[in-house]
Symmetry: D2
Subunit: 280 residues, 4 copies
Amino acid sequence: MCRWLAYSGSPVCLEDLLYKPQNSLVVQSKHSRMGAETTNGDGFGVGWYGRHTVPGIFRSTEPAWNDRNLRELSSQALSGRVFAHIRASTGSPVQQSNCHPFRRGEWLWMHNGLIRDFHLVKRDLVLEIDPELYPEIEGSTDSEVFFYLALSYGLAADPPAAVARAVGHIEETGRRHGVEHPIQMTVATTDGVTTWAFRYSSEGQSRSLFHSTDISTLREQYPDYPLLHGLSDDTRLVVSEPLGDLHGAWREVPESTCLTVRGGQMDIADFTPKAPRAAA
Amino acid sequence: MCRWLAYSGSPVCLEDLLYKPQNSLVVQSKHSRMGAETTNGDGFGVGWYGRHTVPGIFRSTEPAWNDRNLRELSSQALSGRVFAHIRASTGSPVQQSNCHPFRRGEWLWMHNGLIRDFHLVKRDLVLEIDPELYPEIEGSTDSEVFFYLALSYGLAADPPAAVARAVGHIEETGRRHGVEHPIQMTVATTDGVTTWAFRYSSEGQSRSLFHSTDISTLREQYPDYPLLHGLSDDTRLVVSEPLGDLHGAWREVPESTCLTVRGGQMDIADFTPKAPRAAA
Amino acid sequence: MCRWLAYSGSPVCLEDLLYKPQNSLVVQSKHSRMGAETTNGDGFGVGWYGRHTVPGIFRSTEPAWNDRNLRELSSQALSGRVFAHIRASTGSPVQQSNCHPFRRGEWLWMHNGLIRDFHLVKRDLVLEIDPELYPEIEGSTDSEVFFYLALSYGLAADPPAAVARAVGHIEETGRRHGVEHPIQMTVATTDGVTTWAFRYSSEGQSRSLFHSTDISTLREQYPDYPLLHGLSDDTRLVVSEPLGDLHGAWREVPESTCLTVRGGQMDIADFTPKAPRAAA
Amino acid sequence: MCRWLAYSGSPVCLEDLLYKPQNSLVVQSKHSRMGAETTNGDGFGVGWYGRHTVPGIFRSTEPAWNDRNLRELSSQALSGRVFAHIRASTGSPVQQSNCHPFRRGEWLWMHNGLIRDFHLVKRDLVLEIDPELYPEIEGSTDSEVFFYLALSYGLAADPPAAVARAVGHIEETGRRHGVEHPIQMTVATTDGVTTWAFRYSSEGQSRSLFHSTDISTLREQYPDYPLLHGLSDDTRLVVSEPLGDLHGAWREVPESTCLTVRGGQMDIADFTPKAPRAAA
């Protein structure tokens, strides 16, 4: 599996986000506490919004803990919206095109989990992808196919609905092939303005997911904690596992929900896959 | 485009094959004389038959001229059947899974050329691949899709017929999408016993392809030429461009033909793509 | 050998500098016109001054033409002072720590050329490096040893004098070991404010080096040329070979000189190595 | 730190050695049980004696668990003498030239542990290296400098004496710079015929080291254990940690000893560093 974080708020130096926290994502790449694997050494990626509406992405097959270019980039780049992901492959090759986040236009997508028995269902899933979009797939992961399914179902217009249809299709296809629990997922996607994060699994036991609590409250509670200063009140983090032990700083995202972050506003709504028949 | 060689004959040290000739494949990686590009620096691969019926493959995204592991392996490995390929990408990512030769079971496949406007036809071509085989595709090249098409059409049973059907399908699909000259190719494939090499292009102006001439005649003609000794009489090479300037050592493979090499025997037959309708 | 460029002036998107010119450095990585080698595919590096006095460096062993992360970084990063280098190794391994520019504190250093018979003189040169600095050497190139020699001789205080002493020591050491022409070089170094560029070789036939001419004059001369607009009048480029064919835009840096660029001011002074004895 | 194994005996397929054991070296690269770090993901290397007296080496900066070329090579190569090493860097860059085993001529060398405060002592250690050998150093690790010290002190003539002098010099140099415990080591070296393995540390608490016990006894004891068949009686393994849980199969190498393996014969002798003065 993998670990990821989605940041939005006041422009932050990527280094402060990826390296400085006690249990930072780079630390997690070698010593994850809550991941299905302790080592997430099969590549990593960062997507950050800067000068353009299209975000930059930096992806590498090296373990994040070793990558000097990641550290250099991180010390120079500032961004108010960052996606970062460390990978523990579930079988597909360790190559740049299989690293998250995936990008199309101004959209980013990253996934922790898997489509089970992907080799059984891959062809049927790929057939469902919009033929216009299909040739843009570059890698061989389940996660990228999942992204392109969501794009085909209208991610840009209504992300929760598109993801619900994509998951519904994946579950229906998996079950048709005899897969008991076709999907396990925490997913984050953004258009650069809003972030949507999903926690769901067919078996109802999803990978861990947390969001940060109100920064201003934390700041009052911990007046001596430097990391909290300099961040605007609307700063929000969604993470696979907490970046530190600050009591009260993190709250679990409930099972089968979609969390929407727009500025300082956070909404949690139920997430229910939409079966293909219902969609038609 | 790319450059390749297919060797069969007495067991040879890979180093003698890949590094020692005057215009060796490693030299060609930086300074190809006859290629569409002089630089073939977008990865390379070697397949060699050793202890098993399944050949080993060593593929890397580094330029061949820099790869120290290739040199080490080459100085240690002996093989009587070797495929080697240097890549000049026509657009798909430089990643190990896009390097030739491709392998399935005991079969190897490598390709110089391209399927034109591949993004237009990729989906239709992929749909034609046997659903059992489809999930094994790991990379994103036209060449690997071409291999899986040929496998789907019975490569293992009758290689020339399977390749003829694959090319027929590629041409028919390309033309349906308005592509004037859908394919440009020299292809080599082997099961470890026989090698089949194809030279063909929709426009009738195919990439260069040569085969070595009879070793025993050359040996008489050039008694002082050390490379020719130690090679058995049935040794044969098929190459994108000659490995040296020895007069009489190389003969061009004609346009639109399939060359079959089994032991010391070489046959050249016409190659005509088989349109899908005719195939049905 | 290698190719490089040193930019100073109004903040520029790295993409405009590295990719957009007709004969850009990325183009030169595959097809250099004036280099000792046409292919400079043995890694590359970029140093850029951004948020800190210490510049960022991004270095990779991949050919520049293939590196997707370089393209991503280049499309996002703006800088008013950029060093970029593409490498054609003269023997030392292709590894990140051998890629230019080298950095120490706020200083950058890059080199095209070589210290001849480096294996003969390496130990003597290394012994001359300040013992405090010595352990910071990470790679195995002649160019990095040259940098540390210059640092040891006071690069930070007086760059032309320090480089003159370093070259003097290299020539004296080489000759003592029977090397006829110990050094061939174009070198650029900067502290983030001023750039010094050197063109010199023991044999008096140095690698090519050019600087841009006055931007405002060019702008009047070519009112329709978009690249010239948006650049401030004090913008200056020093390059191994011109980035395009604009008549009058480039002037050769003379043999055995040191070019100093500070803001829009450019000075050319004679460069004479200082023999160690004279230095003592 | 790192993990390693040294094999000698009947020719074995590298795959059987590196992948098949329950706690194989490749397993240890992700989940070491006894290492200072559980993850040894900073590159790896294999040295094997094949067709020449000079062994082949295959080294890579990828984690061993991900490297497909290592798996391919391992399934094809047979050797009666193999060194393999997985690296957990103590600070020097992750680059091929820093991966073990190091090679010079027919000699291999690998090291688990470190020279403490290497930056303080590096220059003094390097000065002690034979000037003829010095330019061959390619990487930047303490382990390679240690190898070249041992070579300078006559490794080829008398390995235990040369290593004793090297360690004596390292300890004397470290202490002169105020380092309390200058060295921590398990080292293996071979000329292709004999293997010498050392376990020593200045503090007398050395990293774990084990050797296999008599294969023929084990075979009688475990008649149903397939791995033991096919191995000749003189097969011996020296390893950082046992490759499996077979009771009685592994015996700890004592502190401060040198283990010599020549054919089926194993000798353990005390190892005492030789201070430079005594050496003079």
